[in-house]
């Protein structure tokens, strides 16, 4: 697809290098912790969650969820496979409970005292916060001194045999515009991809962060390798 509007509105790392698909909103996957039992100073990076001080305190969602697959794919892209494998093995060793089927249940586990830290997409945290403003949980932006927080996208593209490719392209262009970006991102408390558009106030209240600059397409390419690595590390 050849569209100046899309390439201008959407940063290069959030779209396909060959412009076959485009990210439309960003989802940040970062660390969440119990404000009762953990201080923000104790936290630093995804890698640090593998260190011995978190033994029996870490909660993770299942490796079958694509969010964790692309997070590990990003780690492979940044640190290489060998180091990433030892990080994942460290996580598994630190687990306080079997991996959860969802981010929400993971956070409920932290609240109930099953574990102290976890890794979640921020909008799940937002949903819980909406239900309970006194939530004893907080977000921590991971990897700020190194490569930045892992982001994923929800996005769109046009299929090869689509009936109406022009209209589809116009829809995508509109979705990337300032007008639609807030509509699209805010309903699910996600971040707009268009740098000119600000996130919703409730989302902005969680602070700003440096996001990983790795192209999402690269995470896609490494996804298979990431799954295999997690299988070998016995991360279920």
């Amino acid at each position: 697809m050849d569209s100046k509007v899309l390439t201008e509105n959407i940063p290069a790392q959030l779209r396909d290098p060959e412009n076959r698909w485009f990210g439309l909103s960003k989802r940040a996957r970062t660390i969440v912790y119990s404000t009762d039992r953990v201080k923000a100073e104790e936290l630093s990076s995804y890698q640090d969650l593998a260190s011995a001080k978190w033994e029996g305190r870490l909660l993770l969602r299942t490796s079958k969820k694509v969010y964790n697959q692309s997070l590990v794919a990003m780690l492979i892209g940044e640190h290489g496979a060998t180091k990433t494998k030892s990080i994942v093995q460290g996580w598994v060793k630190n687990l306080a409970a079997q991996p959860f089927s969802s981010d929400t249940k993971l956070m409920e586990g932290i609240l109930a005292g099953q574990g102290d830290v976890g890794v979640v997409n921020t909008y799940y945290y937002g949903r819980l916060l909406k239900k309970n403003p006194d939530l004893k949980l907080a977000l921590f932006w991971a990897d700020q001194d190194s490569d930045g927080v892992h982001v994923n996208v929800s996005g769109g593209g046009v299929t090869t045999h689509a009936n109406n490719p022009q209209a589809a392209q116009r829809l995508l262009e509109w979705l990337s515009s300032a007008e639609a970006q807030n509509l699209f991102a805010d309903t699910n408390m996600e971040y707009p991809v268009n740098p000119k558009v600000k996130p919703a106030t409730e989302v902005a209240a969680w602070g700003t962060f440096k996001a990983s600059s790795m192209n999402i397409a690269k995470a896609g390419e490494l996804q298979g390798e990431a799954i295999m690595l997690m299988d070998r590390a016995e991360y279920r």
Partner: protein
Amino acid sequence: MSSIHVPTRTQGLFRLPRMSGWQISTSLICLLVLVPLTTLFLSFLHPEKEIWEHILQTMMSRLLINSVLMVTGVALCTGILGVSLAWLTGVCEFPGRRFFSWALLLPMAMPTYVLAFVWMGLLDFPGPLQSALRQLFGTEFRLPEFRSLAGVIQTMTLALYPYVYLLAKNGFATQGARAMEAAKTLGCSQTQALFRVALPMAWPWIAGGVLLVVMESLADFGAVSIFNFDTFTTAIYKAWFGFFSLSAAAQLSTVLILLVFLIMELDKRSRKKRRFYQAERQQTKAPRIKLPMHLQCVASTCCTLILLLAFGLPLSQLLYWAVQIFEQEFGSRYLYLLVHSASLAAIAAVIIVFLAFVLAYTSRRHPVGITQWFIHIATLGYGLPGTVLAVGIYIPMAGLDNLLISLQDKVLGSSTSLLQGTVLVMLLAYTVRFLAAGFKAVDSGMHRVTPSIDEAARLMGMRGPKILMKIHLPIIKGGALTALTMVFVDVMKEMPITLMTRPFGWDTLAVKIFELTSEGEWERAAIPALFLVVTGLLPIIFFMRKSES
């Protein structure tokens, strides 16, 4: 002149050329099973070596161990529970027996994955029970992890025992009093007579029930996903939607198929060793065994407890969640989901009952020989898990679609995808999966059309099609209606086929439950779950009314 053509054995095997229209239709229906099976096994010709080796090295042994332990556990537990309950309500007398006799079937209305998330909500660490226990005994108090093999077995046992219960009760009911009396005159005590006579005589029914349970648990995708318990079904899903490798998904499917065939073979052997004869057709009905007082109490308590755990408590929890969240969650989108589920189920039910009728009629016209083999193959699908069928039918359909696209390109110069985006793949997979259920119901109706009815009709001057329309159809109407209801409910509950092959915009209630439970939203999932439970109650009520009248 008999209307039934009875080929001799050699004729059936060697006289291939002249097949009747019924036989041709039946062999075409067989293709629905044979094409996906062949496709799956052919995947070994173009393996994705790296992924397959990875699966063999890191996953295969765990998948096999998990599956074998799960199936054995569920078979044992449902067997013991189902047979005990059937013995109590079918043979003994105690307060509340008449009520429990049908009420113990109610859990059939609960899809396994619904029971799984309800029990997960109740028993998991942040759930009400463990929270209360921590309040009582301090924050360090821990129950054993519910997300485990034991949790899976517990949930599946509560969801699936009614299959064994129902069949075993039939088994006990048809035994009559004589055999037990004979055993007792030969010096057996009541208990000895139970273990040496009644249970062995009911074995074909019990084994049939346990076989159904085993097939259901091997095919389960929704419940094990909620438990994050790895079995072949979740691995097939992961191969397709994680590794994006249809060929690895197909290869994994073949292992599961071999496992299914192995179990079918074991079942066949366990029955083969026994022969059953009944000396007389009309047996005196056995008087019920009056239990001593304290055993009566135990019996009533056990039945109440099982009914509560498998149905009462989960249903109350679903209602509680649904009421809490109804206002904020319910909207017209649920009606769309309901319409999708119901229309898919209705279309599939009509197709399946029609094909089941073709099979049953063929079976009647050609009661021996190769035709029976065709029918056996055509109804194998009940053992083929939805994930397997999704892969096995999607691959050839996608191939056909690509062929059609390239043909269009050549002829018309432009092309659109004709098959992949339609509901056809889904409907074909449903058909294969649930044809056996439909066939059984229609066929048992067909058995009531005795040859003498045909002969009488012919004597009155009626000819083929007219006999079919005026005599056969009205007689088997009841069986067809049962088949329609059963298939309708099965398709409504179906999860993996729909999840893996639905076109855009065809989400159903079951798919919604998968999405919500994989986000841990038990409360919200209660609403679509209740729709399914209510639908699931239909055939049970239907069945109850039939057995009462």
